[in-house]
């Protein structure tokens, strides 16, 4: 206790410790914020992908990347019929509606995709809609007509017929200057998509969302499944910290207790512990984890369990043993025996606390090594199947050849967070080491 408090007080003298602490506090703060704002269930739901992300662009870069590059790439715009001036003309047994979806487009680049999401409240008879695209310079393109199911997705970008007519993919052709020059130039100004709806039921209502997908999104960008990487980058923090901390606590505590028990009881107990440790040290950890992940389960809890189990008889035992052996002989332990303290009390209350301060730096440095281990497993495709983690982001990036396609952000942001975590704990850990292991202090 005393050593601990003294040590912590002395920690203030090391700027690296303060920087490390600041990083760790920032990570912990963000982790708490994340878990509160995006609850666990919601995070899993989001990370499963699909519908929640239909209005997000595919593989959009982070906004700040665009800023740094000095570009003005398009953001995603959603033009909703709810904001439009709808003209409605009822007739017997139905109505005629004109829905103009208008928007200003002033970016220095073409959108990445163009989709129209339609919903209709009809009961039996499907309404009919005809789509007309008007450019700022007054050209009109008929995008065809169709009957509407209750939910309809019109993928304008994948309208092959339109593409053939424009000579370009629709989300480029519809936004380009009329001149047939290459590369195409963006025509800035007010665009309008007019929906002429004929409904065959009197109170059937049609709503439309035109999504003009951008090429940049948020602070983290999106992946190939339109998911906002921010979800994984943020959720990766609590997952990484929890995994690192639990694994470090689990291995340290079990190892310590076992080492102390071996030292205290000696004899065959100690011998068995020593031999098990020697065997365990030469067993490679990663291949075993890969085997468990491949053959059994990649759940992060299973991995945590295996990591701790493999960590129990780790090399740490030898170190702790060397530290505990002289303590076993110390007079205060003898005194404790002489007033009747039991074995468990002596191990847990008298031996282990004695070396705890010395272990704190090791413990702090151990945390990021488990964070990296978890990321490595995920990178090898053995990440938790449902949790959003940094390792899984990198794994996705790898399988999608992100670097080849120039999506550097996809790899760099999780990697940067991993490095930041490692840096924070390492800076704190090394400062703690100086404080608690005075031999290093003069160096």
């Amino acid at each position: 206790m005393r050593q601990l408090l003294d040590g912590l007080r002395r920690l203030g003298q090391y700027p690296s410790a303060l920087v490390g602490l600041a990083i760790i506090f920032a990570l912990v703060g963000t982790a708490v914020f994340t878990v509160v704002t995006i609850p666990y269930g919601q995070a899993l739901e989001l990370w499963r992908g699909g519908d929640p992300w239909r209005m997000h662009p595919v593989n959009a870069r982070p906004v700040w990347v665009d800023r740094i590059a000095g570009n003005n790439s398009p953001r995603t715009m959603v033009v909703s019929s709810r904001d439009a001036l709808i003209e409605e003309e009822p007739f017997v047994g139905g109505s005629r509606m004109r829905i103009p979806l208008e928007f200003d487009f002033g970016y220095a680049g073409f959108p990445s995709e163009l989709n129209l999401f339609l919903t209709s409240t009809h009961v039996e008879r499907e309404p009919f809609v005809r789509l007309t695209w008007e450019t700022p310079d007054g050209r009109e393109f008929i995008l065809g007509g169709r009957r509407l199911a209750r939910e309809e997705r019109v993928s304008i970008s994948q309208d092959w017929e339109l593409e053939r007519r424009l000579g370009r993919v629709p989300h480029v052709g519809l936004f380009a200057e009329p001149a047939d020059d290459r590369p195409p130039q963006v025509l800035e100004g007010r665009y309008r998509l007019t929906l002429d709806v004929i409904s065959f039921e009197e109170d059937a209502r049609v709503d439309a969302d035109l999504v003009v997908y951008g090429r940049v999104h948020g602070l983290a960008g999106t992946d190939h499944q339109r998911r906002d990487l921010m979800v994984a980058l943020l959720w990766g923090i609590p997952v990484a910290l929890a995994f690192g901390l639990l694994a470090a606590v689990g291995t340290t505590v079990t190892t310590l207790v076992i080492a102390a028990a071996g030292v205290w009881y000696g004899g065959w107990i100690d011998a068995v512990i020593q031999r098990l440790t020697e065997v365990n040290i030469i067993l490679p950890m990663l291949p075993i984890l890969v085997m468990v992940g491949t053959l059994y389960s990649t759940s992060i809890w299973v991995m945590l369990g295996v990591v701790i189990a493999l960590g129990i008889f780790s090399a740490g035992i030898k170190m702790y043993r060397a530290m505990l052996l002289p303590i076993r002989e110390s007079p205060y332990i003898e005194a404790a025996k002489a007033y009747g303290a039991g074995n468990a009390r002596i191990i847990l209350r008298y031996m282990i606390p004695r070396i705890l301060p010395v272990l704190i730096p090791t413990f702090v440095i151990l945390i990021p090594s488990f964070v990296f281990l978890e990321a490595s497993l995920a990178l090898l495709g053995l990440g938790d199947p449902v949790l959003p983690t940094w390792g899984k982001v990198m794994n996705d990036a790898q399988t999608q050849s992100a670097l080849y396609h120039g999506f550097y952000y996809w790899v760099l942001s999780p990697a940067a967070l991993l490095m930041l975590t490692g840096l924070g704990f390492a800076m704190l850990g090394f400062a703690l080491d100086r404080v608690f292991n005075p031999r290093l202090r003069t160096m």
Binding site: E334, A336, A338, R349, R354
Partner: protein
């Protein structure tokens, strides 16, 4: 041989502690399993302690004093013989009784700083024995901790309760050790060289403290020392140990004034003669190595160093316990 010593010791109240033919041998092994012999640290010790008396064990370094103390405390398993406390042999106690026995015997060690867990404050240090012995109530533990601190003259207790050992002076640390030994209200205190690691300036103070506590509470005090010069004031009887055995025992003044055993005589010359003219004589006597406890000399253990050795007897057979003067026992062939 034990018979005569016991007779000397017979008292009306009967002994608190009786030690009979006690042996504590440490097996020496090579490569972890090959037995190469035993260190006979305690090798046939007999004595009785009366309730409320203070006795001193003296002897040169390595003669087995600490081993004897630890065996009495149950920290070493005796190889042979028994320790009988308040009428019951330690070997026959079950776990709970053994624990109760440990509460009846306090232990004061040599190195006060080492004897205190450095990561606990004084309050915690004093609470520990109480917790171990089932005193659940925190307020009661605090109360007893305060009392114990008052007892060892660390007052006001508030000033010390939240201190860590390193914040205390050596003398204060030893007082805390004594307070811890007292906190379970023992009947006997075993103090193993309680002042040898303290500053000369506080030694007498600590010995006086132990002595006054012993008298106030009617405790039995067994303290180990190799400083014969102070013994006179702090003990009623002296046991002289040599090579794992008690070679002489008597009341303090009787022993100091009329040492019988050649070893005791040598010890006394060695300490009481600051006169450099006597230096030769002094060196002459305990000269030579202390005997190996691994292969103790045959016969009297002291014979290789004894200047009055009787050839053919002393080197053949161990001397019996004899009583050359009333109440004064020694194991030496000279008094046959």
């Amino acid at each position: 041989m034990s018979a005569s010593i016991r007779e000397v010791r017979t008292s009306a109240t009967g002994p608190v502690l009786s030690v009979r033919d006690l042996h504590t041998w440490f097996e020496l092994r090579q490569w972890g399993f090959l037995r190469v012999g035993s260190v006979r640290a305690v090798d046939g010790v007999n004595f009785d302690l009366k309730a409320g008396e203070a006795v001193a064990f003296v002897g040169e370094s390595g003669c087995g004093k600490s081993s004897l103390a630890r065996t009495l405390l149950g920290l070493h398993q005796p190889t042979r013989g028994e320790v009988i406390f308040e009428g019951r042999s330690l070997g026959t106690l079950d776990a709970a009784e053994r624990k109760a026995y440990l509460a009846r015997v306090g232990y004061v060690q040599q190195d006060p700083y080492g004897a205190l867990p450095p990561f606990m404050d004084v309050r915690r240090i004093l609470h520990e024995p109480l917790i171990v012995h089932g005193v659940r109530n925190r307020a009661e533990r605090d109360q007893r901790a305060r009392e114990a601190l008052e007892e060892v003259r660390l007052s006001p207790p508030e000033d010390f309760l939240s201190k860590f050992p390193h914040m205390l002076s050596g003398g204060q640390q030893q007082r805390v050790v004594i307070a811890r030994a007292l906190i379970l209200r023992p009947a006997m205190i075993i103090a193993d060289e309680p002042v040898s690691m303290l500053d000369a300036s506080v030694r007498v103070e600590i010995l006086q403290l132990l002595r006054s506590i012993q008298i106030d509470h009617g405790l039995t005090l067994a303290f180990i020392t190799h400083d014969l010069s102070t013994v006179r004031h702090f003990a009623e009887r002296i046991f002289v140990m040599y090579a794992g055995r008690i070679v002489e025992q008597a009341e303090v003044n009787e022993l100091l004034n009329h040492p019988q055993h050649p070893y005791t005589q040598a010890l006394l010359t060695a300490i009481s003669d600051p006169d450099p003219d006597n230096a030769r004589q002094q060196r002459e006597v305990p000269s030579g190595e202390p005997p190996s406890l691994l292969k103790p000399p045959a016969g009297c253990r002291f014979h290789p160093r004894c200047n009055r050795m009787i050839a053919g007897t002393c080197d053949q057979e161990y001397p019996p316990d004899l009583e050359p003067r009333p109440g004064h026992g020694t194991a030496c062939w000279l008094y046959r």
